[in-house]
């Protein structure tokens, strides 16, 4: 018993060392590792400003009254917008600048704006935003709309006061209901929190899947299953180390770090690594051609970010894509990442996510086992029919 255990560890260790050497010393794996870290860092730096600010916007003020100038000043004071100076001389000029991308939108205040406002005729202002980039368009719209609502509320407040309402009561006549907002998971509603953690771990996910799929290629695969497991152990270890580097070295550069404790972080990382290894191994069992198995693994890896629901919610997917998303290990991990980074949680609070990992792992094993069995069966039948034909 002890001897067989010692033999297991000896072979496991051989596989472990061999794969670790591959991962750290072979030039192509060094390139992969370098690309993982460099592209991860660059992608992280893209969102260094965290929020969209200073979008150029033109104000075409044909009224030039005190109210319209207030409007312009208030628009300029928002974080999202910078009013360009000089303003376009006409609507045509503004349209040209919008087309060329020199401005993100424009606000058109008609000539009789303040007069109509004073007469109580509800004047219109035209707000045009460049929605060809929804990120720019929605931010510009948000800032413009907020400012317009404030100015309109101010005008209404003046009217209410004129009707005899006291100062402390007037606001309750204009906007009696206010919304008190609290943001979970992304308190400052910034884009770095939204995208950077998922992006880094997506790259790690791709790396681990490729490494695992490479290790099971026929010309790479070691002679015994114990050595194979040892190789997976090396991939697991490196994946864990890289995951910890991302969480505790790279993300803090953007002021993000896990709020949950290290054991929980380790548990989730371990689940992701194990699921990736299981997926690569079982796909190699199911798909008859090694190159096809390798490609299928990579195709799944590449779609995992889109399917995880990080950028676009999974409930908006068609049902088939929804099912696919739930089958990928990266999906529950991306969900857990948002919790780990923003809440101090205990293990039992994440039961649903661990259950998700568990059924995924079971499913991978069932698919792998069934596929392998079927392949053996078909191969046996073909061999038998071949022998029968030879005999005949």
């Amino acid at each position: 018993m002890r001897r067989s255990g010692r033999r297991f560890f000896a072979e496991f260790g051989r596989g472990y060392r061999s794969e670790l050497r591959h991962l750290l010393l072979r030039p192509r794996f060094q390139v992969m590792l370098a690309l993982l870290l460099v592209t991860g860092f660059l992608s992280m730096e893209v969102y260094h400003e965290q929020v969209i600010g200073g979008l150029p916007l033109a104000v075409i003020d044909l009224d030039n009254s005190s109210v319209s100038r207030t409007l312009r000043t208030m628009v300029d004071a928002t974080r999202e917008i910078v009013v360009v100076d000089p303003s376009p001389a006409s609507l045509d000029e503004a349209e040209r600048q919008l087309f060329a991308g020199r401005i993100s939108g424009y606000l058109y205040i008609p000539a009789a704006f303040s007069v109509e406002l004073k007469k109580g005729r509800k004047p219109s202002v035209m707000m045009v935003v460049d929605m060809s980039n929804i990120l720019i368009g929605k931010n510009a719209y948000k800032a413009l709309s907020r400012t317009m609502t404030m100015v309109a509320a101010g005008a209404q407040l003046t009217m209410v006061r004129k009707l005899g309402a006291r100062k402390e009561q007037a606001m309750a006549k204009v906007a009696p209901i206010a919304v008190d907002e609290t943001y979970n998971f992304n308190p400052a509603t910034n884009y770095a929190v939204y995208l950077v953690p998922a992006l880094l771990f997506f790259l790690l996910n791709v790396y681990v899947l490729i490494a695992a799929a490479t290790w099971v290629l026929p010309h790479n695969r070691p002679a015994t299953n114990k050595e194979l497991t040892g190789g997976f152990g090396a991939i697991f270890t490196l994946g864990m180390v890289l995951g910890l580097v991302m969480l505790y070295v790279m993300l803090p550069l953007e002021d993000m770090r896990p709020q949950s404790g290290l054991p929980l972080v380790l548990a989730h990382l371990a689940c992701l690594m194990l699921l990736n290894i299981l997926m690569a191994y079982n796909l190699a069992l199911v798909v008859p051609s090694p190159i096809m198995a390798f490609e299928v693994t990579i195709v799944i890896a590449m779609l995992s970010m889109m399917l995880s629901g990080v950028t676009y919610p999974t409930d908006a997917f068609p049902w088939l894509m929804k099912v696919w998303a739930e089958l990928i290990g990266f999906t529950p991990f991306a969900r857990s990442l948002q919790l780990l980074l923003h809440h101090s949680l205990r293990l039992n609070e994440m039961g649903a996510l661990f259950f998700h990992y568990a059924w995924q792992a079971a499913l991978y094993c069932i698919i792998g086992g069934t596929g392998y069995g079927l392949r053996k069966l078909i191969a046996g039948l073909i061999r038998k029919s071949g022998k029968a034909a030879d005999h005949a």
Partner: protein
């Protein structure tokens, strides 16, 4: 000088003949190696429809919302029905306590929790302001951008209704009272993309990345396979031309992929594309600018596995730092500099014009100029690199990857 000019014609003809020979050789190779052909056809046939299907609904709607109505008055029920009527929200559950709601948000059972306080209608009737509390999962900024305005719009509308009733009690006719509430009309226009939908915005950009990866992988895979099966001409006197000829032969598949994406997938899934031909020309310019880079990478591919292992890390980051979504001028200068080196950057910026703004090719010319500059620099560098460094042979004695 005259003699040199006299030789120019024949040498050009000889060069073209040699290139033609290389193209024929590559096409023969592709016929004999169905796996390379399979990959060249599989990637454009698989990825665009799958990605289009993911975003088929174009816009996420009805974000799951939890409600705690501690007031349960006529006014709070009116607010609830207004919230339910919005496209951005769907009330999935009514809860009894804040703790339950907060836990449910953490468990991701809903994205939004709304709490209407017990004195909601009483305060309004007493002429005082009141707050409704909102807890929101802002981890997905896109979902947040849908549900947050929905709540604000419902609240603004109810505020306006209360405002109208105040003016009415002051003796104003209803029509006039409505004019006095929120007295500035916001005439909002979404230029170029009126639905502001996510799928339509995002998917066309992904095509550029699909094309980028297709060229890298198919070329690398083909060169790697050649080296593995011993059909790579290591002794070729013009190694760059040898590789470029193969790229030109494979361009047929790349062009087919572009046509499939722009003229079949794009209309089939109703993705907006104003200038399909302008987009096609831009993608061809992209292919030309990308060619020297692909050739150099292919030159270093020792086997067919290398492109899959190494080149996958280019795809998503190339989209991220191209300025397609996050504006280029909002990135740190060194990221802008790196982004400027990628041919995907001008292509993505240009293709958005063709997608949303214009059917004409003329506005895309500056981006073609950018690509042309990249081509010149990369061509010179590629020529130098391929000439200076010998091709990496497949290690037949020890074929581990």
């Amino acid at each position: 000088m005259r003699k040199a000019w006299a030789n120019f014609g024949p040498s050009l003809r000889a060069g073209a003949g040699r290139l033609g020979e290389l193209i024929r050789d590559e096409l023969r190779f592709l016929r004999l190696q169905p796996l390379v052909l399979f990959i060249a056809l599989l990637l454009p046939v698989f990825y665009p429809p799958v990605i289009s299907t993911i975003y088929y609904r174009d816009q996420a709607q009805e974000r799951p919302t939890l409600l705690i109505d501690a007031d349960n008055s006529e006014l709070s029920r009116k607010l609830t029905s207004m919230l339910e009527a919005t496209q951005g929200l769907q009330l999935v559950k009514r809860l009894g306590s804040l703790d339950d709601g907060y836990e449910a948000i953490k468990r991701r059972e809903a994205e939004l929790l709304l709490f209407i306080p017990p004195d909601f209608s009483t305060r309004i009737k007493q002429g005082r302001t009141t707050d409704i509390k909102m807890w929101m999962n802002a981890a997905n900024m896109y979902a947040y951008s849908l549900s947050y305005p929905a709540v604000l719009n419902a609240v603004t509308t109810l505020n306006a209704m209360i405002g109208v009733s105040f003016f009415y009690t002051q003796g104003m006719p209803t029509a006039l009272a409505k004019q006095r509430v929120m007295p500035i009309n916001q005439d909002l226009r979404y230029a170029y993309h009126p639905t502001a939908s996510y799928g339509n915005f995002f998917v066309t950009g992904v095509w550029v990345i699909v094309m980028q990866q297709l060229m890298l992988i198919v070329f690398g895979f083909s060169i790697g396979t050649r080296k593995e099966v011993g059909l790579y001409d290591y002794e070729n006197e013009r190694p760059f031309l040898y590789l470029a000829g193969k790229f030109v032969a494979q361009s047929v598949f790349f062009l087919l992929a572009m046509v499939l994406i722009l003229f079949v997938v794009q209309p089939a899934f109703h993705w907006t594309l104003r200038g399909a031909f302008a987009a096609l020309l831009l993608l061809i310019a992209f292919m030309i600018a990308w060619m020297p880079v692909v050739v150099v990478i292919g030159h270093f591919c020792r086997d067919r596995w290398t492109p899959f292992q190494v080149l996958m890390f280019f795809s998503t980051p190339a989209l991220m730092f191209s300025g397609f979504a996050w504006p280029l001028d909002k990135m740190p200068p060194f990221v802008q500099a790196v982004a400027a080196l990628f041919p995907a950057t001008p292509t993505l910026l240009g293709i958005r014009l063709a997608q949303m703004k214009t059917a004409s090719f003329a506005p895309l010319l500056p981006y073609c100029g950018w690509l042309a500059a990249q081509f010149v620099v990369y061509f010179a560098l590629a020529l130098l690199i391929v000439r200076r460094s010998g091709p990496q042979p497949f290690p037949h004695d020890k074929p581990t990857v």
